[in-house]
Amino acid sequence: MHEVALMEELLRIVQEEARLAGGGRARRVCLEVGALAGVDPDALRFAFEALAPERLGSACLDLVESPGRAWCEACRAEVALAIRFDPCPRCGAFPLTLTGGSELILKELELEEAPCATPADVKRAANPAAAACALDA
């Protein structure tokens, strides 16, 4: 359920990065979600569809899922981990040290080329922040 709050934060960061980059509108948002991050990718996609149009226009979400990985001291090796608190799939030892899969990171952002602030653009922008972006450019 906190996927909505996380999505609000993602959209805030995207708008901030877009402003820093000169005010272009986001076209594609690349988000890395670890398999052990405690969030549901489908719920994130749903939250993006519900919240993004108003704030980012027609931007699309590129959600990359990264697998769970952990270090097993007994095996002296990195192993794949499907569930966070599972024992080592090779030798049964636990607890393991998480080495990957808890990511929740905005990786990359693709902006529209040379945005132009025509009156129509400003009108289309659904909120003041987006309108400001278009005007800044």
């Binding site: 934060e9 966070r84 607890p95 952002l109 693709e110």
Partner: protein, 224 residues
């Protein structure tokens, strides 16, 4: 493509660190109380406040109503209610604002009663010294395996409503074994907020943490 590499939790974590620094500067011990709805968090707090002779303040998180803050104020502590509305958890920025308004005295014990939810609050650091998880025996002993993130994040498990044990099919040993499986270092206390059984142990735990927090010997609460 612009490379960004920004974590979605970084902003909350930064506010949490700010809270932690402020609490430490004032010697405030902040505890984040987490549980599923109906575990008896507020009743336990009321019972705790009635016996704890130490300056306390409470931040109450609920989706709606200020009923819990009113119960806490009636028990004699200062309390502030945060209504999360659509949100399912407290975040560090909201807690920071609430702590500023409450302004607990130096060396106080600050209880942050999170929204009843065993999923989302696990991901949001509030700047607390410890997460204290309350589980009641009317829930299942498999809860630690179903909601491992929260059990892994907690430092202390309070198993509440043990006065009901004769009436429910709840295997205490299995529950504790499940909890230790996801968190081998988890401390556990069995108690009943209603009858007061086990409250002494919980009050002693609080007394120890308060002393550690202030780095000096505090007068032990008279009732401990």
């Amino acid at each position: 493509m612009i490379p960004v590499e920004r974590s979605l939790l970084a902003r909350n974590d930064a506010f949490a660190q700010q809270n932690r620094a402020r609490f430490q500067a004032k010697g405030i011990l902040a505890l984040n109380l987490v549980s599923s709805p109906g575990s008896g968090k507020t009743s336990l707090l009321v019972a705790t406040l009635a016996r704890l002779e130490h300056p306390c303040a409470v931040i109450e998180g609920d989706q709606q109503t200020s009923l819990d803050a009113e119960r806490i104020r009636a028990a004699g502590a200062s309390a502030l209610q945060i209504n999360t509305g659509k949100g399912c958890h407290l975040d560090a920025q909201g807690v920071g604002r609430a702590a500023e308004r409450l302004d607990p005295p130096e060396g106080a014990l600050l209880f942050i009663e999170n929204v009843g939810n065993l999923v989302c609050p696990a991901a949001f650091d509030l700047g607390e010294a410890h997460k204290v998880l309350i589980l009641s025996v009317t829930e299942g002993e498999d809860k630690p395996l179903k909601y491992p993130d929260m059990f892994a994040a907690a430092d202390l498990l309070l198993l509440n409503k043990i006065d009901l044990l004769p009436h429910v099919a709840f295997d205490v040993e299995a529950c504790l074994a499940n909890a230790r499986r996801v968190n081998p270092g988890l401390e556990t206390i069995l108690l009943s907020a209603r009858t007061g059984e086990g409250l002494d142990v919980w009050l002693r735990w609080l007394g120890q943490r308060l002393r550690q927090n202030l780095g000096q010997s505090l007068p032990v609460p008279a009732s401990v």
